[in-house]
Every structure is written in structure tokens, then in C-alpha cells.
């Protein structure tokens, strides 16, 4: 099973990198650029075949290491391989 974890900044947390990307896109001539937020994508191959157990384990990974829940949200997607 493969887990894809998407980590994004919480609403209300300033994202200066996202802002810099927005400015750079405008400088390249792209119009209509609104807010840009930057995040992280982490892919994990799991030996676990039970979906429930895998979800619980990845949830635990997110809380303990992958995300800083003070400033970040996480979203888990599991795909059978």
C-alpha cells in the first residue's frame, strides 16, 4: 500500500514563500494570479495491507513527525499497489 501525505499551511499562517512564488509568476507575465500557498508532498511505501491499520499508522506519523500541527494541516491518501 502506498500513502501520499499532503502537508499544507493552516489558514491564517503567513506563507512568505507562496507570496514570493505569486510575485515571480506575475513577473513572468501570468495574469490573474491570486493567493499562492506552498506545501509538501510525501510518498510512503507501506508493508501494511489492512487499510484501517495503515491509515491509523500514517495518521500517527503525521502527528509525531511529518507535520507540525501548530502551523500545518495534513491530508492522507492511501492507494493499493
Amino acid at each position: 500500500m502506498k500513502a501520499t501525505v499532503k502537508i499544507t499551511l493552516k489558514n491564517g499562517v503567513l506563507d512568505p514563500q507562496g507570496k514570493a512564488i505569486a510575485h515571480a509568476l506575475e513577473a513572468l507575465g501570468f495574469s490573474g494570479i491570486g493567493e499562492v500557498r506552498q506545501g509538501k508532498l510525501i510518498e510512503i511505501d507501506l508493508g501494511e495491507t489492512d487499510r484501517g491499520k495503515a491509515e491509523k499508522a500514517v495518521e500517527d506519523m503525521c502527528r509525531r513527525l511529518l507535520a507540525n500541527t501548530v502551523i500545518e494541516n495534513y491530508d492522507i491518501e492511501l492507494v493499493d499497489q
Binding site: 499562517v13 503567513l14 512568505p16 507540525n68 501548530v70 502551523i71
Partner: protein
Amino acid sequence: MKANVIVFPGSNCDRDVAVALEQTTGTPPAMVWHGETSVPDCDLIVLPGGFSYGDYLRSGAMAAHVPVMRDVVKRARAGTPVLGICNGFQILIEAGLLPGALMRNASLRFICRDVHLRIERNDTAFARCYDRNSPIRVPIAHHDGNYFASEDVLDELEDRQRVAFRYCSNDGTVIDAANPNGSQRNIAGIYNETFTVLGLMPHPERLIDPALGGEDGVAMFRSLVETLH
């Protein structure tokens, strides 16, 4: 005073802080490698500055979970004083010993220069030799020092007077223009609930000798020696 300095792969201020400690205490600290499972009995634990694990994932996130940190957290919770400087502050936050987060500097730039700090309280083991009315000048050197916490946490830090230092102008006024990195409420360092754990972004260990450009960092190490003997 018996001090332990924890050394992670990528620490780069471990030697500076060891020199500062030896100069003030007369005894060199024990340097403890990150892979150890415990730290020797001591009066003080220091987490030095640097870029542990290349700042992978988030600054301090990897170091916070290495074997030796389990013992550091246990000892900190039992009351052993812990000082985290720069990357050490980031590690203390990631290990859950201090609240909040240290985000990318608002300017997105790595900032390496002297700043002025207002001493918020001088009745702790770390700051008793400082004068509350005279701001100190110490260097910062970081990319991720933008202190963030929810309004509730910030209010609690203020109510319990847990803010240790704030960025200020050279006359001690806390103003936006003196905030180098976008930190909320100009926070440069905070204490835990019992004032035994201090995390700060500036580097007091880098200004301990006139030959280095100043001595405003000395009082922190002298405070520790006077408190912990």
C-alpha cells in the same frame, strides 16, 4: 557546574558554546553524540546552533526524535535546566518542550547580523546577571527564526511572563523596525512553564570576548554558573 552539550550531525555552534561554558565555569562541558541513548548526570544540557540533519523536513524535526533526545526530554521534564540556542530552540519546539513554531524568516532571507534584545525578566537561572533596563547586543544567524504561535498560546506566554527576550531598538524599545524575521510580538526567546528550559534564536555564545566584538553573551553563562554552581 557540569554541563552537557548535545552534538547532532550538522551542529556547528557546539564548539562555540563549549568555549563559552569553559571560559565561565573553568570546566569543559561533556560533548554528547546524538546516537547515545542517555546523557551523563549534569546541571545543564545545551542544544547548540547549527543545521542538524540539514534542516530536512523542518528545522529541528529530525534531531528532536533521535535516541539521546528521549533522555533530554525526560531530564528536562524532571527539572534539569536546558538551553537551546538557534537550531537548539527549533529542536526544543519540535520535541514539545516549548510551544509554537519557528517558520521561515518573513524576508525569506538568511539573516546574519547583530540585533538588540530587551531582557523581559532577570529572575531566572539564565538571565539573573542581566540588567532589565539595558538592552543587549548579540548576533542572529538563521533562516527559520520567525516565531509563530496561536493567539491563545501567545496570550498565555505573556500572562505567565514566559517571554525571555524581545527584539528591540538599541535604546530598548520594542518596535516593528527592530524585528528582523517577522516573529510575532518580537519574540526572540521563551521559557517553559517552570523557567528551567530556555530557547532563543540569538547566539549569546558568539559574544563572550572583546576580541569577538563584544561580551553581552557572557552574563547568560555567568547567570547559569551562579544559579547552578
